[in-house]
């Protein structure tokens, strides 16, 4: 995707070379992936109670915050599209959903894999797990419903409203472990009303692995991926414009 990019004029698109910032972000993303993997899998010590599987936590939790960022971008894009009717905000919204959904799926699947040896089950209908699954399904439905509406303007309006409302599932997933005393999901940040099962001890090695991963997956990863996705959406719109132009010429 090195030869096309961004629009400058409202509601019309021209394709340009890949911006240097995106090139830099791509390099940072690859380096960040290597560094966070090294910190989590070689530098941090093994959890003597949970064993090696605890290391999955250095991806599991940060990807949730990555999804939070991406879905937050969808809200921002949706609100600005509804306010300004500028298509670029709709492209931001759909990029946020696609990237956020991928990160949310990573969060769900890594959590399930962690739970198998620690809780002795792949899945349980715990409030946090259930709300996270609802969140992922809500955004999967966004993509399906979006592709089911043919009229462009209707699709964008509908998607904007849906994207804003869907964020309630993200908030619910975030706060549910603090308001439901019957969850067994570990509370890593801050106090919780219940005794979580399979908790984590924040030793120096854990903090040194977790904080960079948290910053990396909640900022660099979603922003880079969304940027690429926005560029793809730009191309799709350009193609659409060219098709319309060709048909009108014909």
């Amino acid at each position: 995707m090195a030869t096309f990019a961004v629009d400058k004029t409202k509601n019309t698109i021209r394709l340009t070379a890949m911006p240097k910032v995106l090139q830099g972000l791509t390099v940072i993303t690859v380096l960040g992936l290597i560094v966070t993997l090294y910190l989590g899998y070689f530098n941090a010590g093994t959890d003597i109670q949970q064993g090696e599987i605890q290391r999955i936590f250095y991806i599991h939790m940060p990807t949730f915050f990555g999804a939070f960022t991406a879905f937050g971008a969808t809200v921002l894009g949706g609100m600005l599209y509804l306010a300004k009717r500028d298509d670029k905000w709709d492209r931001l919204a759909v990029a946020g959903v696609e990237v956020g959904l991928a990160l949310a799926l990573i969060n769900l699947i890594t959590g399930s894999i962690w739970a198998r040896p620690i809780w002795n089950t792949w899945w349980t209908w715990d409030p946090r797990l259930t709300s996270a699954a609802i969140m992922a399904l809500t955004y999967a439905a966004y993509l399906m419903l979006r592709s089911g509406i043919d009229n462009l303007q209707t699709r964008r309006r509908f998607a904007s409203v849906y994207g804003i409302l869907a964020f309630s599932t993200v908030i619910l997933t975030l706060v549910i472990i603090r308001i439901r005393p019957d969850t067994i999901h570990p509370v890593v940040i801050g106090a919780s009303p219940q005794n979580a099962q399979g908790s984590f001890e924040a030793t120096r090695g854990v903090v040194l692995a977790l904080l960079p991963s948290l910053l990396f997956y909640s900022t660099i990863v979603p922003i880079t991926l969304m940027w690429y996705r926005i560029r793809l959406e730009n191309m799709l719109d350009v193609l659409e414009q060219k098709k319309i132009a060709l048909l009108s010429e014909g």
């Binding site: 599987i53 699947i109 910053l215 900022t219 014909g250």
Partner: protein
């Protein structure tokens, strides 16, 4: 657009930093128990009791008390036969071959079902516990080689008295101590309690008792009960020695746990992460290629027009 991204990134960094600082403030200060983690995957508390010297190697936990002529050793033997593991572990520590065990039984604990074997070889008293797990057998041993007395450690399930209204099981600690003595002496030897001091503290039932047997032996027992199991240190010397040895072996044995070997789940998790990222990036790449082809086709058609 770029300014917006930079602002969003700054807000996120601030948010994460604030949450991390808050977490540090909320963290409770818990007492730290120093642990020894062996390369073979077991963990035991590092003995900080008076008189015990920590001489661990990479593979084995070894605590030595020169005053009491005692050693506590925890090791892992690469065999799935618990009796063979005890033999191997003992042979590595003593020159004397093992005879028939004084006690050979099994006891179910939270960590698994342990084989318990007690020996007296020459002047050496050996209490060994073996647990088969994974690719090997973990062995916890108390060896005491004072020629003037013997010390053995016995674990038995305390008799159950009944259940409370809340459903909690009530156990008979005194009955557990008697059962430990019966297990050690055999059913044919009778014993009488001559003195007993209750040392129960912090919810952990503890007792120091003296017994005389009909064979004319005087025995001292230091016993503790945890999780419905009575752990009794039985000796024919003074109560202080029994207590010091009993506290040491029980600290090590009760604090023992195995770090689970679940690397396969970690590899599965990492594979899934790689797969999902690959699907996302691959799908974007494929769509990009398709758009490029469509674009070329449209341009070709446009040129023909």
């Amino acid at each position: 657009m770029q300014k917006l991204w930079i602002s969003a990134m700054l807000v996120l960094v601030l948010l994460v930093a604030t949450i991390a600082l808050q977490a540090q403030e909320d963290e409770e200060e818990l007492p730290e128990i120093p642990y020894f983690w062996a390369s073979s995957g077991f963990n035991v508390p590092i003995l900080e009791l008076e008189g015990w010297d920590n001489q661990h190697t990479e593979d084995d936990a070894i605590y030595v008390n020169a005053d009491l002529n005692a050693r506590i050793v925890v090791t892992m033997v690469r065999t799935l036969d618990d009796e063979e593991a005890i033999q191997t572990a003992t042979n590595a520590l003593t020159d004397s071959p093992l005879t028939e065990p004084l006690v050979d039984s099994r006891i179910g604990l939270a960590t698994g079902t342990w084989t318990q074997q007690l020996f007296s070889v020459d002047d050496i008293s050996i209490s060994s516990f073996a647990l088969v797990r994974g690719a090997g057998t973990f062995v916890v041993m108390l060896l005491e080689d004072n020629p003037n007395y013997d010390v053995h450690q016995v674990a038995v399930r305390s008799p159950i008295l009944g259940t409370t209204d809340d459903g909690d099981v009530q156990t008979d600690f005194v009955g557990g101590v008697n059962l430990a003595l019966e297990t050690f002496l055999g059913e044919d030897t009778n014993f009488t309690l001559t003195n007993s001091i209750d040392l129960t503290a912090l919810g952990l039932a503890s007792v120091q008792s003296q017994y005389s047997t009909d064979a004319g032996d005087d025995l001292t027992v230091f016993a503790q009960e945890l999780g419905g199991i009575t752990y009794a240190t039985i000796t024919n010397t003074d109560a202080e020695t029994a207590t010091r040895l009993g506290e040491a072996i029980e600290t090590v044995f009760l604090g023992f746990f195995i770090t689970p070997n679940n690397s396969n789940f970690l590899y599965l998790g990492l594979t899934m992460v790689a797969l999902i990222f690959s699907v996302l990036i691959g799908s974007m790449w494929l769509r990009y290629r398709n758009v490029q082809k469509d674009m070329a086709l449209v341009e070709e058609l446009s040129a023909k027009e």
